[in-house]
């Protein structure tokens, strides 16, 4: 441990909640868009993708944090990427062993977790400067926030595009599905809609503060 610690080492509730709410990776930072939009055609896919990312995020942040004082500054990004790629390979084989149908549904996007900006971003911005326990707590929050974001998108798209939620039919057989929502354009529209909702709520609450 170096003597001049730039950051506070204490773990607060905020360390965890930062990723879940205030800095939510999907809705606030708009990071890691590729898996977010590509796999959220159904709620089940969305949650599995979220959990896979959560696992990679937590384990790589833990490892990065452990070796943070050993890695020379010049090669840190390369080191982080190799660590992340190792864990992604692990997840890839685990999913393949547990559920082949899920593996086929997610396809190459499991391996594409490597290039998810959230993981590299967290490793660089947080785990490389903080002790292991704090890094894990923060990564856990980020991962849960990411999973919640994916679930919100996946559920919306599945309800609108197929009339189902987690595979259960919601509206009976006369429901006319809004097919475009499970096609690529729907992903952009639904995420745009969610962002719009959040900016609307934010402007409402700011106005409320101004009036008082």
């Amino acid at each position: 441990m170096s003597a001049n610690k730039p950051v506070d080492e204490s773990i607060t509730f905020d360390t965890f909640m930062e990723g879940v709410w205030r800095q939510n990776p999907v809705f606030v930072m708009v990071l890691g868009m590729c898996p977010t939009l590509a796999v959220t055609v159904s709620a089940v896919n969305a949650v599995s993708m979220g959990l896979a990312t959560l696992f990679v995020l937590v384990s790589s942040c833990f490892l990065v944090s452990l070796i943070r004082n050993l890695v020379p500054k010049e090669v840190r990004i390369a080191t982080y990427i190799v660590i992340i790629a190792t864990f992604v390979t692990l997840v890839d084989y685990i999913i393949q062993a547990v559920s082949l149908s899920l593996y086929e549904a997610l396809g190459a996007f499991i391996q594409l977790i490597v290039v998810n900006c959230i993981i590299l971003g967290r490793a660089e911005a947080h785990a490389s400067k903080n002790p292991p326990l704090k890094a894990v707590v923060n990564a856990l929050g980020m991962g849960i926030g990411f999973t919640i974001g994916l679930l919100a998108l996946g559920a919306t798209r599945e309800i609108l595009g197929a009339g189902k939620l987690f595979g259960f039919s919601l509206f009976g057989e006369h429901f006319q599905p809004w097919v475009v929502m499970v096609l690529p354009p729907g992903g952009f529209f639904v995420l745009g809609g969610w962002l719009l909702l959040f900016s609307f709520m934010r402007s409402r609450s700011e106005k409320g503060v101004a009036h008082e």
Partner: protein, 194 residues
């Protein structure tokens, strides 16, 4: 397996556009597409990295399968991509420092561009041979550039429009991308590949 080269090229360029149909490479798509002047060079740089990555990935895949080291595939691909990005960065810094500064952080971020790794992974998954991989990466790169340039032109126009403050920012870009993606769905069936 039996797709012709032109089919692969047209499919990746239009019908299965990397950005608009497969959601690969969205970070630079939303980040750099503000101005036409940076969108085009960014697209070309990415295409070059894609080409190099695809060729290296093809060779690496042969090597790894020969020695039954499939589990190392992901790690070796990412290392190859990172090195070729470094190369592009060095070349650009020497010959066009202004452009180098304009692209800024997005240049090293090509490493984490899903589209580049996507090319390498998809060509492996689909068992493309050497010339098919070449057509696939060229089509993918051209498609990425096309999407980036279209989006940048639209956003330049949009800056003159009177947009409600609530919608401005990422939400607007996403809805715009959705409309663009709807348009590209009109290309479905082109090239006889479907």
């Amino acid at each position: 397996m039996n797709e012709s080269l032109s089919q692969i090229f047209i499919a990746t360029l239009l019908t299965n556009n990397f950005v608009l149909a497969m959601f690969l490479g969205l970070c630079p798509f939303l980040g750099v597409s503000g101005r036409l002047g940076t969108a085009l060079p960014m697209g070309i740089a990415t295409t070059f990295v894609m080409l190099v990555a695809s060729l290296c990935a093809y060779g690496l895949n042969l090597l790894l399968s020969a020695f039954h080291l499939d589990f190392l595939r992901l790690i070796s691909y990412i290392v190859v991509i990172a090195s070729s990005v470094q190369l592009v960065e060095m070349v650009m810094k020497k010959y066009s420092p202004a452009l180098f500064r304009a692209l800024g952080i997005y240049l090293p971020l090509i490493t984490t561009n899903c589209a580049v790794l996507g090319v390498a992974l998809f060509q492996t998954a689909r068992d493309y041979n050497f010339s098919q991989s070449l057509a696939f990466s060229l089509g993918g790169g051209a498609g990425f550039t096309l999407a980036l340039v279209l989006m940048a032109s639209l956003r330049e126009r949009l800056q003159l429009a009177n947009v409600p403050t609530l919608v401005q920012g990422t939400a607007l870009s996403l809805i715009l991308a959705g409309l663009l993606s709807l348009t590209f769905m009109g290309f479905a069936g082109l090239g006889g590949g479907e």
